[in-house]
Amino acid sequence: MKQRTHKVFYGTHTWLGVLAGIILFVVTFSGFPAMFAHQLENWQSPTLNQLQPAESLDLDRLLTAANSEEFATDTFFVVPEADQGYGMVARFDGDDPVIRYVELENYQQIDIGGSEVAHIFEHLHTDLHLPRPFGRYFVGLAGMVMLLSIIAGIVIHSKWRKEFVMLRPKRSWRLLLTDQHKLLGLWTLPFSFILAFTGTILGLLGLISPILAVAKFDGDVAKATVAVLGPRAEVVGQPAPVVSLNALHQRALTIQPELDVTFIQVDGYGDEGGVVKFSGNHKNALSNLQSVTFQLKDGAQIHQLNGVEKGPFQRIFAAVTPLHYVLFGDIALKFFYAISTLALCAVIVSGNMIWLTKKKQGQVSTETVNPHLLARLTLGICAGLVFSCAITLGASQWLLPMNLGEEQHHAEEAIFWAAWFIAVLPALFGRDLHSRTRGYLAAIAVSLLSVVVADATISQRWIGGGNDTVDGLHLTLIALALVCSYFGWRLPKPKARGKAAIVQDRDNSAREKFSASATSI
């Protein structure tokens, strides 16, 4: 490879990391709880968490129990969670969304409390709590930056066989960081590439939809959406009888036996033009573009979408969401994704640290130098986010006895942002970031353990209680707390740097440059 080519890719890899590393960390780390949003949603409400799986599902009874007639012809959604023992009926139109939960054992409405901690994390991952759709585009662009950075990383690391296993913990701090960056980067490469690729498509698809509609649908995005996802109801204001949803559900499963119905959209219920769409994932293939749509008045099938049977590009697109959110495989695969997500976070942070360490080379003493702003922001924002997530998770349980109802959601959001803001502050002041880092790691470990304590104290849930969700969450939190404590304990203390150390650093740097040039030639 030409030396200039190597330099361009190296420079791009570096600057993309320096400029966007913190945002990439926020998006990547928030993907960790977002991946388990379904489990967290179940855990955050002790009422939902103690329900038993339902043996059967009666959709008509579910609608009656949820008083769905109040929604009239407005669009509403049904989420049947038979394996969790409940069903959700919700209307999101307008300023005041209505969400009702029904226990499937007795078809009675239940109060699940006001915690929305799972959605707070999910929303952070999908659009950083920015106004829609700009937040989603922003996250999509972050995915694009990650994709560019990964491509450059592959090109510049030509000695990958060696780097796959190289970790020299007893050499210099910089070498340790570099080895760790390359090692984790290589091991998580397929995973991070899939996440960046699928995340970019999910984030930026809305941005390119009008462009694609120009080519085939005269710029009419709504027409393109109907072509892809099927028609919506045309409410004419004339009442009409409604075919039983149970019967239509069975017909949908006859038409697509592999359809795992996770979402039912009812549009114009009781109207002449009303429709119902049963959609979900394919049971045995990577596809969430599966749906069957019927007319409500006579049960006539008006649309079918089967991503598995489409052409190669629709097939790829159908696999994007399942690949990104791990909607396939079992819980072990999800944990593998989760560990890879944390490894990717470590790669992003260590990238910034390598740049800062190189920048510091040649300075006589670390004690007298004011830390770089990037060091402060990386430490404050990244460690602060982890701390704030743990605090908010604990708050979701501590707040339960106050019976705040829907206000709990706002309280949790306020706690999340306040905890993050306050956690950033210690990194912005003072010179000794080393002791600050130890402090952050200790605070994160304590806050993670406090979630377990909150759950045990408030909701009387503990490991070994026979609840898989609780067991999984507690074990994960304890394991993460132990990892943070270990790193806090083992964090190498920076030594005062004399002339010999500077010469050694320069030697190492020259050797690295020579080796890079030799490889590229």
Binding site: V8, I151, L212, V214, K216, A224, G311, I316
Partner: protein
């Protein structure tokens, strides 16, 4: 004129070509693929252009960055933009 040429050949210009120029070229390329993809229905054709949008953008981004200066970067992405743009305009108007 000399100032303009120097600015166009500078680093900022090259980075702009890599980000914005490559983005615009990718849009025209995506439309061209959607218009000319011969297989499948209309939905398949729009996904043919859309699914690998970001891969094209990434490729053009680095192609522009690897040029010797901003001017050459703009020539690279500009020539493709002109070619695909012309194809799109002709397809959507004259040959529609």
């Amino acid at each position: 004129m000399h100032w303009f040429k120097r600015t166009l050949d500078g680093n900022s210009s090259q980075i702009t070509a890599a980000i914005l120029g490559a983005f615009l070229t990718t849009i025209s390329l995506t439309i061209a693929i959607t218009l000319s993809w011969p297989f499948g229905d209309e939905v398949e054709q729009i996904f043919a252009g859309g699914v690998f949008f970001f891969v094209f953008w990434a490729a053009l981004f680095y192609w522009a960055l690897l040029a010797d200066g901003g001017l050459k970067a703009w020539v690279r992405v500009g020539s493709l933009l002109l070619a695909f743009g012309s194809y799109d305009v002709l397809s959507l108007t004259v040959f529609a």
